[in-house]
Symmetry: C2
DNA sequence: GAATAAATGTGATATTTTACACATTCTTGT
DNA sequence: ACAAGAATGTGTAAAATATCACATTTATTC
């Protein structure tokens, strides 16, 4: 009885963090809960590599992950940032054959990651249409976001790209406190530059300018948009 | 009896073109076949707009479609090219709320497109785990492709981007005849430039150079890689 | 098939962005 | 708290790319 109760609450707690599991019947949740592996990572730890054979899907329970893709010259682009409730490596599902992971995943803020083997997750997907539907929804959303970011990276100049990426980060990682937007994501300028595919020096210059204009502030690798209203005004104006 | 027979063959014919339907039970196929709408389009016709409310999912039966995304300044990027058997606008599935299409779809080679309303397709997905699985697989593949292209657009110089995109197009649209790779896709240089996010002049210059080197040839909007082996050798060498 | 429109090629120039250099400022581990 | 390493800011020079201009070629339409 005691065991049953803690198990249910553990499932429930996990549930609340991962949206795709929200409509699952309790028995499926128990199976997943039994199969899933919890793993702790420190900052800087590599979770998966794009050169490694894909073995499963990952769910962020806490902490943050950057997904990067390298090219032949060794330069890299951050393709996506994941936080609590997000899923990654789902692009390998049902892609039979020895496929590698779609990107390299590195912890940028320590936390717990849940792992489910491809086989286990695929089986659950076949048994639970609700789960499959949630995955399709989630992947669709990712697809939309990616194409928008791709367009901006391809077509905008450094200043505008930077502003737009700041806006995106604020949207996903921002906490607005009295018109100050705290981007709760530890990120160096160096990393920011690989988010939009430009040199760190160029980003540094844009940030200097924004700082001079009193639009942003950086405290311990955390960007703060000091006046969200003003920022949005400048941003909208820039896009016209 | 006669009717039954033609219906089955029509389903079968359609089936063979769209991979996600391949494992569907016959009764589901019949339902889909009944609900699906066939539409013909001429070259240049707009099928969907990114500013229009999403109503359904599209399947390319014949012809070719370019999917573009505009930014606020009106510049556009080709996000993906679709051919026979491909699906588009799937990113809207299960995203309740009045979402617009993820991109604008324009016919670049005339053909037939099948349309299935979001509701009908979502219903089938809930009833057929096999179909849902195929969608997840398809979307995963798209996700992989997109992130790779994004990385290349962000990090490579114009010459290398051009080469890499030619290689991708050859992969998807190429017909190799005696070491000559015919890219069976009508594409102006102007359009090619919006595929990699650079100016048409820059692409024109790269193409001139490639033509001088005897690597490519353009005949009626069709790019031909005149010596596939040589092209691959130059390409691999460039990446080192 | 002639007329009109659209796309292309290329030189010259302007603009943007990167690359390099190096002093300075943060971080981190002990 | 201190030393070592990492990250940052910024001037200058170099390189890449975009823009403009316009002649030329290629499609399209009636």
């Amino acid at each position: 009885m005691e065991n049953q109760s803690t198990e249910v609450s553990a499932i429930h707690e996990f549930l609340s963090k991962v949206e795709v599991f929200k409509d699952l019947p309790p028995q499926s949740l128990q199976i997943i809960d039994k199969r899933i592996k919890k793993m702790s990572f420190n900052k800087g730890d590599k979770i998966i590599s794009e050169y490694e054979r894909a073995k499963g899907v990952f769910f962020v329970h806490s902490g943050m992950v950057k997904l990067t893709k390298q090219n032949e010259q060794g330069n890299e682009l951050i393709v996506c940032m994941k936080k609590k409730g997000d899923i990654f490596a789902e692009a390998c599902l049902f892609n039979y054959g020895d496929l590698t992971y779609p990107a390299t995943g590195t912890m940028i803020k320590p936390g717990e990651i849940y792992f489910l083997s491809t086989e286990d997750f695929e089986q659950e997907l076949l048994l639970n249409p609700e789960l499959a539907v949630q995955m399709i929804r989630y992947m669709g959303e990712t697809l939309r976001d990616l194409t928008s970011i791709m367009r901006d990276i391809a077509l905008l100049d450094v200043y505008t790209k930077t502003m737009k990426m700041l806006e995106r980060l604020a949207e996903k990682f921002g906490a607005n406190r009295c018109n100050r937007m705290y981007i709760e994501l530890p990120l160096t300028i160096q990393e920011f530059s690989t988010l939009i595919g430009t040199s760190r020096e160029s980003v540094s210059r844009v940030f200097s300018k924004l700082r001079k204009e009193g639009l942003i502030d950086i405290k311990q690798k955390h960007i703060i948009i000091t006046d969200w209203c003003k920022f949005c005004a400048v941003y909208k104006n820039k896009l016209m």
